[in-house]
Amino acid sequence: MTPMDRRRFLKVTAITGTTAALAGCGNPENQIVRFIPEEELVPGIAVWKPSVCPLCAAGCGVIARVMDGEAEVFRKGKPGLTRMGLARKLEGDPAHPLSKGRLCVRGQAAVQVTYHPDRLVAPQRRSGDRGTGQFTEISWEEALSLLTERLDASVAAGPAQIAFLSRPRPGRRHELVAEVLRRLGAPAPVTFEIFDDAVLRRANELSFGRHQLPTLDLAHTRYLVSFGADLLGTWNSPLAHSVAYGAMRHAPGGVRPKFVQVEPRMSQTGASADQWLAVRPGTEGALALGLAHVIMKAGLRAAPAAGRAGALVDGWASGLPDFTPEAVERETGVPAARVDRLAREFATYGPAVAVIGGAPLAHTNGLAQALAVNALNALVGSIGVEGGTAFMPQSASPQAQARTLRETMAAAPPQVLLLDDANPVFAAPAAWKVTEWLRQVPFIASFGSFIDETSAHADLLLPDHSFLESWVDSAPESGATSFVATVAPPAMRPLYDTRSMPDVLLEVGRRLKQPLTPAMPWQTFEEMLQTAATPESAPTPAATGRPAATQPLTQPPTAWRAPVLDGSADEYPFHFLPFASQAFLDGSLAHLPWLQELPDPLTTAMWSSWVEINVRTAEQLGVADGDIVEVTSTAGSLRAPVVISPGIGPDAVAMPVGQGHETFTRYASGRGANPLAILAPIAEPSTGQLAWSATRVKLAKVAEADGSLILFAGATRERPDHTKGRG
């Protein structure tokens, strides 16, 4: 590489020119510089560059519309003004097997991550007490030596007590982190996401020998039963599901497919169902077994058809005698006649597929619920067939290599904690006492682009580039029937003095007193991607169909039991149902103003928290829309306005997750309430995953409407009301 190529020359002149311009306006030198475009950019003409959306684990390929513009940048410790290519809008990548040219609501807003006014522009070190969020800017040189010093000390003191905490994002980036940790002699990386379906992975491992989330072939399904999975909104790979759902609804000529959603609170996905079945929370598995009972009893399928998945369910071979439609009605609240009819339809109008995800797994009986649905799928032969469910070929299951936050917190506190975007202080129940744990960690460094509740406890902030400014990759575990790995170069140059997290790790690795052994084979993340992500590195297309369960069946059959809930029904009469919000997922997107002002699909609420209650509950409490209630569990209480909804039963209340941030940029801080904070710390026993749907609460009215519930006013009006018009 030449030390001074054309591009670098222009860069230098641009910075010199603009600095001069700041000193004195109207400098002709400045005018010249401003009109020198980047090599590939013609002013006013858009160039499309590929990238990967990082906002959830789905790993969708996007394209960014890059046009030139004038940006205030912060580089090498100095502010400046420069003309550069700027990503203006994201669209789905038409060539990508997951997004197919489409993009979800959150992906559309992802561009605001890069241009967020509260983004960290340079490394900082803590200057006040921990958790107060007081930091002072430092140079990268200082930041890197601080980090190196801490890592050196930890490595020297014996087995390196270093923990790396991120959200589960399968891909090369995660592999690089795991490699660096391995060579440091540190334990495997830790991942944390409250809505992660670890229980379903565990169940699939038992039933089908695949520790992985399933892929649904919705485009060819003729009968879909979803047990609680918000598959068109927030669950697993919502964009790929929605694209396939569109194909299912637009299937030419044939018979219209049926979609049944089973859940206690109507989700955005449930709204699209042909039939919506309300069940008691945590009894979805009993309904699945009831369907299997009817199918076997009517002779539509025989018990052995379910193979290993069936053998894992207690009483399967004898036709599940305890799950008659009448028994299922008592357990779930679904009328026996409907159970019977649904079972017959499901077995008749194939290809049929059932899916379970989200809340039904977040119970003490989560594993049994998932095993029940797996057995039902196996019974009707929907595993590995067109219109059924399958497993995407995988190079390795990164989830298997990761540790959970609970395991890590149970062990001795690490000497060094490296944080990459995970925010357990917000997204874990208060009863987990994550803040207390952080206090015991002597040194915390965060790579995130924002100060949130967790990184506010950091000693060192090492802000990463935004995804549009760096090499990005994804290798999702589900969403397509073929292996999908995506790699994309930066779509624009970094605005600020930020550095790519993988490159920082590699750099620190080179600076350590005791170098990494063996030395890392790559100098940069880009090098790793170029050497590792070749078509040859993809796994051989293992049978996407029924995976041969090679291990012998050691697990005893699991009996479905009613869930154990926290709080007595007398004192805490309502089942508390937190749900991932369409805009914010687990709350990690609450900082984006477009998503804050997005009306919720079912309530039109913006900038707000709310509690959804049944109209009968509202009558009992004497509350109207917007009135404030106190929601109390055994673990704590919160206050939020109510929304009266026909989509929830009188024995439950629901609340979206996402608001209630204390520290998360100007748009999210101090807004609404966080339902996760009052969850009881009950775990699903087989995985230790938080049973976030297993808390009971009581409600009390505490105030009249105070305006904290903001609804979008727009609606079609038959006769325009001139007194209430917006104008």
């Binding site: 018979v255 979609f259 709204a271 804050q596 026909p646 325009p720």
Partner: protein
Amino acid sequence: MAHRWGMVVDLDSCTGCEACVTACHAENNIPTVGPTEAARGRAMHWLRVERYWEGDFPDVKVKFKPVMCQHCDNAPCEAVCPTYASHQTDEGLNAQVYNRCIGTRYCANACSYNVRFFNFFNPQWEKPLQLQLNPDVSVREVGVMEKCTFCVQRIKAGKTAAKAEDRELKDGDIQPACAQSCPTGSIIFGDLNDHESRAARFTHSPRGTKLLEDEGTAPKVTYLQRQSWNEPDTQ
């Protein structure tokens, strides 16, 4: 023959996900107004998703309906505008000329669909959020009415591209931001004068309805009604 732009929204596959809503904000430089102004009913969404509940728990259904400017042939907003800021173009677009608009807000009050939005303040993009702005779309100022344009900048760009390549516009060449983003492909845009276009064909679907048709506004957006599942004849 001149183009006549129209749209079809398939309510059978619309999932209410609102990708269209954010896509519209991103494409058209629509400002966010913040919680205080939003509480006063001043949030700007050129495109919104309405929901209609039917029945009571547990036998309850929801229908979603994305509503944007219906680009009426007989638009109530046009007749009341004293400055002809709101007018019908040759291609059937209900256009708003921002620098003619004097902010009487008559049009918003006349519109049956409640799709016109008034800038009560100069829009604010806290730095550097202004870098996301689409240079192809003007930023509206205080005192100006704004609304869905069917992404007229994309229509123009599509026509220019076709002309540069010396070819006719094909169906699908032009997609507004909402239609491009829609994960389920429920928003279909096209030339209603091109009888082969998907939009023109769906406009005449037996499932097609227009919003508040009896008001005589003659909208150019057609809604395909949601269907229900019937047990197939198994004989």
